[in-house]
């Protein structure tokens, strides 16, 4: 009698453990978009300069089956509506010079290869530039148009378009040379325990990816898949907007999208994903 109880308990424990790990692990799955673009969402070797990671995973692996499926076909990916809207604005003249993006860059496809290396040091300006900043530089200096706000729909849509034409290319930001001090600053921030909850990016996305924090399945907090279409807000979400929310959730005073701090953090976090494919616009919850 006693033995049987023991055996039953063991079986139950084993089952519970299996259930738990199945729930906790990143989903084993592969992402090919439109049956054509193969996305590297997992590598078995993170870059050497990222001490805390041995493997890299896109956030895609941590989402539910139906959310993952939405990325397999552009017709099912609501983020592609933003891409379509940006294709229109790409060809629309705006500003005092009467020019559109197309006037200088022809087809949006000419932007292939831009997103994987962002952010990068702008030698002309002498500072680190994100994709948003390059877009605004064209608008204000070449088109004579007004700068877009960081989280304006027009801006996020344009970053979605420019990402989309690089899908499948490996993220490859430079961290040396003039980028080095920005990278150091971003790294410092990544390990800083902000707010009254005293939690760093690393506490959640390095130490605990794969675990659940309440209903949320924690990913590695990679930026390769941005902008992300969030089902919760039914809109495209920029990298800095995501950072802002994550810091706010530690009961902290957050930083502003476009701030020097978030630009440095963006470079550092992007470098943690060097080798994963550009995946944006992606679908998240």
């Amino acid at each position: 009698m006693k033995k049987r109880t023991l055996a039953t308990t063991c079986a139950a424990t084993a089952l519970a453990l299996v259930g738990l790990s199945a729930m906790a692990d990143p989903a084993e799955d592969e992402l090919v978009i439109n049956g054509d673009i193969t996305i590297v969402t997992h590598t078995t070797k993170a870059p050497d300069y990222i001490e805390g990671l041995s493997e890299q995973y896109s956030g895609w692996h941590f989402r539910e089956d139906d959310t993952r499926d939405m990325e397999r076909d552009d017709f099912d990916n609501p983020g592609m509506l933003g891409v379509e809207a940006a294709r229109d604005s790409w060809a629309e003249a705006d500003g005092t010079e009467g020019k559109s993006c197309a006037s200088c860059h022809n087809e949006p496809e000419s932007m292939a290869g831009v997103r994987p290396v962002m952010p990068k040091f702008n030698t002309e300006k002498g500072e680190m530039y994100t994709l948003e900043m390059y877009i605004n530089q064209c608008r204000t200096e070449r088109m004579g148009a007004e700068a877009w706000g960081w989280d304006d729909a027009a801006m996020v849509n344009m970053t979605a378009l420019i990402s989309s034409v690089s899908r499948g290319m490996p993220v490859n930001v430079a961290i040396d040379g003039p980028a080095a001090p920005y990278w150091e600053q971003g790294k410092e921030m990544y390990y800083t325990r902000y707010g009254q909850l005293e939690l760093s990016c690393a506490n959640c996305h390095e130490q605990n990816y794969g675990n659940h924090i309440r209903a949320d399945h924690l990913s590695q907090g990679q930026t390769n898949a941005f902008p992300t279409y969030r089902l919760k807000t039914a809109s495209l979400n920029s990298i800095h907007n995501r950072f802002k929310g994550c810091i706010r959730d530690t009961r902290a005073e957050t930083f502003k999208p476009g701030s020097a701090e978030f630009i440095a953090l963006e470079l550092y976090v992007a470098s943690r994903g060097n080798g994963l494919s550009v995946e944006g616009p992606s679908v998240r919850n």
Binding site: G195, H212, E253
Partner: protein
């Protein structure tokens, strides 16, 4: 002389009004444990269970599972299960862990629930805005900590 007595009287009055609560900055930790009740009042385990499962209060289940709370959905697994916590730990140790877990587990991700200083860029709740450091209140009140400790002591295997 007279002034000193008056000041002393005022102080004891103030202490009496707050039911002799130990302020967050005055808690004394011995190897992580806190021997004295923070309020001098016994904890209420049923209240403690509410504090632990409520998102707006302790939200302990964000990181811990508690089998004795089967109705609480989406329990997290960042921390170990709390099943049997009442067997593994003494009351004073649990009071210390809930008040400031970093005194027991160095560098733990578990937040400090009864602490008001030493934060980097503390915010005004979850607004993302700054808070005046002098206005920071602990995440849980002294009696809520006692209630949580009383509940944890009921978790026996």
């Amino acid at each position: 002389m007279k002034r000193q007595i008056a000041a002393g009287l005022l102080m004891s009055l103030a202490a009496g009004m707050s039911f002799a609560e130990t302020a967050p900055g005055d808690v004394s930790y011995q190897e992580g444990a806190v021997a004295q009740s923070l309020t001098g009042q016994p904890g209420d385990a049923a209240e403690g269970a509410k504090v632990m499962s409520s998102r707006a209060l302790g939200n302990c289940v964000a990181c811990h599972t508690v089998s004795a709370m089967p109705d609480v959905a989406f329990q997290g697994n960042v921390g170990p299960t709390l099943d049997g916590a009442g067997d593994r730990w003494e009351e004073a140790q649990l009071r210390g862990i809930v008040s400031n877990a970093k005194m027991t587990f160095e560098g733990t991700v578990m937040p400090s629930f009864y602490k008001t200083s030493g934060f980097i860029r503390p915010g005004d709740g979850y607004t993302g805005k700054a808070i005046d450091p002098a206005a920071i209140t602990p995440i849980l009140g002294a009696q809520q900590i006692e209630d949580v400790v009383a509940y944890l002591l009921t978790l026996k295997e």
